[in-house]
Symmetry: C2
Subunit: 610 residues, 2 copies
């Protein structure tokens, strides 16, 4: 199955068009401003000296690279000379400062030049990977190959240093990314060496003595599973360690499984995907519950208040799922992509597009973040921030958000043989290799989708996992979660019934027993203190609640009002159970829109009352 590239897809209206406009008009500029303020752009001049402000961080290269990549995707569809010139300035710096060998890394060059490729945790290949992705994106957008050539030179040097001359202190990077970037570089250049170098890194991971020794000697505090080096990758069947590292690896593993038709890699990827989707993913699509190393933990450990669920981790799960979908037609992959996009990913950016969450909790009680009154900063119990920030010290998420929104077109359509797959329901036009599709929909605010296609014999429309009833105005058969309809070139109308529905988590999730989350279509809802008063844990919703959904332009989506209950106040610390309630109206907003109206309590899962 070939996914249709965003370059061949125009998002023409509705929910995501609005988000793409904000991305292009606001977010990309807001991030640029923050990255200029904090010295990230200037750092590419390699002028920093000890004592100067804004010491470069080990992964600043990747921050700028992801911004360049995002802007490249944007100007590919909306040419913008000013933005292009800003990228050219970055490339000027790189060209001027790149080492003769091809090496380029801001932090190492100005802070620890003696430690080039010595320490797995210095993110050099991670930064290189992002620079490569940026160069490819810029080349595709502009056909200008200066940046691409600089990065090819760097990739060639990496090949020499790691795979040929073995002159480095480690073999595989502590933070994966180079692996998937090299597959892209192969696709872009046709140079098979890059695919083979990716394969080299994938194959070496978890079975190279040098990697383990280097980490041990450097006093690194995490276990090998933290950076997915506990086993050879073909023997890794569970998602382990740092989430973003993990899913970037799994993405590359899936890439290689496809390129080499490698059954062992595919088997590992399938098991890992199921391990995530069945027990390590929040209902929002967020992954990685623990702030300790931003890691996966044990299955069904999905605490609400302390959920880490990094925005970048959600994004990395989209990448992994998308690769799996190209390997195996199964709506479980596109369901996960949808779950992430509308919830745990989108919550990472404010409605105005200017501020971000690094962590995406499922429940917030701001006071808890202030509970360790007698303990100094740094020893506090970790709770996710209750307010969004414009930039982080580790600001990986914001430019990761922009590149995903800019390339959202990648996730809507695929073509296989003479079947055109419609994975996501987004108002859009697509045209590729003689296949055209026009999709008209107000999804997720309405379950009606009209598809008009030419050049394809069949249309396969995903039946979303959340949907229990739907109608299609044709004969259809469902296969792998997709309703297949013969295409006659006329409008095909699909109607997914979209009502507020309570969803429960598995009985294996400790925190959510006796609770449910209100969802409508792909959108997970939440209650906020600002609408419902504080002490949200005292709120109940009944199993047979009545609800009303109304479009709210502030959120670009519907809010829901439902009958509920609030437990009565008690006067004593402990008293015989009274368990009495007042009837109240509950107001739900989309989870992705939480924390846009000041600091407030918030909860996704709420207790059920019979």
């Amino acid at each position: 199955m070939e996914h249709v590239s965003f370059e061949n897809v125009d998002i023409t209206g509705g929910f995501w068009k609005n988000r793409q406009d904000i991305n292009r008009n606001t977010t990309i500029h807001a991030i640029e401003e923050q990255f200029r303020k904090t010295g990230r752009f200037d750092s590419f001049a390699l002028g920093w000296k000890k004592g100067d402000p804004n010491q470069p961080h080990i992964f600043w290269d990747s921050d700028i690279a992801k911004w360049v990549e995002s802007v490249s995707y944007i100007i590919a569809k909306h040419p913008d000379k000013e933005l292009e010139n800003k990228i050219e300035e970055v490339i000027d710096h790189i060209e001027k400062n790149q080492d003769e060998s091809g090496y380029f890394n801001v932090y190492i060059s100005v802070c620890e030049p003696e430690n080039r490729f010595k320490n797995r945790e210095y993110h050099e290949l991670y930064c290189a990977g992002h620079l490569i992705e940026a160069a490819i994106a810029y080349y595709n957008a502009t056909k200008k190959d200066r940046f691409l050539n600089l990065m090819r030179k760097y990739a060639d040097y990496i090949e020499t240093a790691f795979a040929k001359d073995d002159i480095t202190g480690f073999v595989t990077d502590g933070h994966e990314e180079i692996e998937l970037a090299l597959v892209k570089l192969w696709h872009c250049t046709g140079e098979r060496r890059y695919l083979e170098l990716s394969e080299f890194f994938i194959d070496q991971r978890g079975q190279n003595e040098k990697d383990v020794t280097q980490m041990e000697n450097s006093g690194f505090v995490w276990k090998p599973s933290y950076y997915q080096s506990h086993l050879p990758v073909r023997e890794q069947f569970t998602a382990e360690g740092h989430c973003v590292r993990a899913c970037y690896l799994y993405t590359a593993m899936a890439d290689l499984a496809r390129e080499y038709n490698d059954g062992e890699l595919l088997y590992a990827c399938k098991r890992i995907f199921d391990d995530i989707a069945n027990g390590k993913m929040y209902i929002t699509g967020g992954i990685g519950p623990s702030c300790n190393g931003e890691t996966f933990t044990i299955p069904y450990d999905l605490p609400n208040q302390t959920s880490y669920a990094e925005t970048c981790a959600a994004i990395s799960l989209v990448f992994f799922s998308q690769r799996m979908l190209s390997l195996e037609i199964d709506s479980k992959y596109s369901d996960v992509i949808e779950r992430v996009l509308y919830n745990g990913f989108l919550s990472g950016i404010s409605l105005d597009g200017k501020s971000f969450f690094y962590e995406n909790p499922l429940e917030i009680h701001p006071d808890l973040g202030r509970k360790d009154r007698s303990v100094k900063e740094g020893y506090h119990t970790h709770y996710p921030a209750a307010k969004r920030a414009e930039v982080f010290l580790c600001s990986c998420c914001p430019p990761n958000v922009t590149r995903l929104i800019a390339t959202l077109g990648n996730y809507i359509y695929s073509v296989k043989d003479e079947v055109c797959f419609v994975h996501q329901f987004i108002d859009s036009n697509m045209e590729q290799n003689g296949v055209t599709v026009t999709q008209t929909t107000e999804y997720p605010n309405n379950g009606k989708v009209v598809i008009k296609a030419s050049g394809a014999k069949q249309i396969a429309v995903r039946i979303p996992g959340w949907c229990s009833s739907y109608r299609i105005d044709r004969e259809y058969s469902v296969k792998n979660g997709y309703a297949c309809v013969d295409n006659d070139g006329c409008d095909i109308t699909v109607e997914f019934d979209m009502q507020p529905v309570l969803f429960q988590a598995s009985h294996l999730v400790c925190e959510n027993s006796g609770k449910a989350a209100l969802c409508m279509g792909p959108v997970v809802y939440c209650v906020e203190g600002v609408d419902n008063g504080d002490l949200l844990w005292n709120i109940r919703i009944s199993k047979d609640f009545k609800a009303e959904a109304v479009y709210d332009p502030r959120f670009g989506a519907k809010t829901i009002t439902a009958d509920g209950f609030r437990q009565d106040k008690t006067t004593k610390a402990y008293s015989p159970l009274s368990d009495t309630f007042d009837k109240i109206k509950l107001k739900f907003i989309p989870y992705f829109a939480f924390a846009n109206r000041g600091e407030s309590e918030m909860a996704v899962f709420m207790r059920i009352k019979d």
Copy 2:
């Protein structure tokens, strides 16, 4: 109100007689064995040198002191030459090694002699306080004054160093204890200087520049409120910081409020007590929810799974409550003592008396303690241990348990004017200053209490806070939570109705909304996985449950069987709410008896089903 000393009370049968026997016959010897093995006893010879095993810890003196104090209480009522000789050996070491000045401290003497009284966090005065308490207990038990005189000499030196010559690096100790010990020393010796020295420490706390500077200079990581130095004590109205330190301070504050008739101190103590009892105390009487510094946090922050609730903190709350009860006749103080004794204190020791909990969680899921798979030791999310230990590196709790069990007689009776108060319902005889009481009861396994007294005009019997109906076979009037009965010298029979009752926590406690804890009389119950299967969070109890209670000799208390429900298994990570249940029989055991049958899930609060 004068509390009757344990020396004048014999616990004659039933629940606590059994516990005192285990304390005397087993626990005191088990602790001795562990303290010998770990070098704690030998350390008093001050022979340790760099490179030797078992380097003394800064508070080993207090471990041995509390063991000596416990044994002294035991031999006061059950003379035992062998045990007495073991104490004499400890005293020999102290006599031989005490500095000419009077100073004695194992750690400082052998490890950092240059740092005598230089660092607030070295627990020197804390250790001194425990040695003083031990010396008083031994003197009272044997009338031998050698140890007492050594400790008087030490106390005199402390007075000189801190209050007169001001030659120390700090003024008040980081860990309170000396303050309450000096009050006891005054009572024992009649030497008012000791009371005044206690007053000096109390008055200086929170308003001495030197203390703050010393802590800051030593790089100590906690805030002043951690060691109750954020405000002058008379301006402290909330319980803050390290729990044990806090309640030892509050105990001494209450002592001084009484000795000096100090209304400001009394006011502070009353507000602090209410702050604890109304919102910072678990239903078990445990206090201090946070492992970060073993501290109080914000009101109503009472998480179940991560509850710290140190055994020593529970004991310190008994001390504080007992002092408050002597200042103000109010059953809220004796209610808290009862709550702690039968639950969060007693859970700290195994049924066989040989092993201990430092932390006393309200909910255990052993797998959660192993959840941080990819993170090295030391970076794990902290969960309390699921298994008891025979000794801890910081083994303050075990000998604190033994001294409280040995002196349980202290908490049963008080006399004021011609009224005899019966606070706790324990099968016992009391005789003091012409007042005698015989109390016959199987409490807590039966609500019937028979009291026969002479020498008192009135008997005031506490009506327990948990009790909603009771009968007394006399006329009575209730005042401050005590039923007052004119004494005619005949049996007075009180019957508290004792049924299994569900208790809810305040609506301000996030974790326990929609949940309840089963209690019977003063005993809080729990469910364990070993009886009820794992995944206890899927268990429900209905509001109108039917229950049966049966005496179980293993626990010395009743177990309860009740009708309940178990939520059905689900197959998917997220699915539309089904919320279906199987009827099951739930088996409850007393909370104090949990974790006596291997590692198992456990829960006190469970979800309610309408």
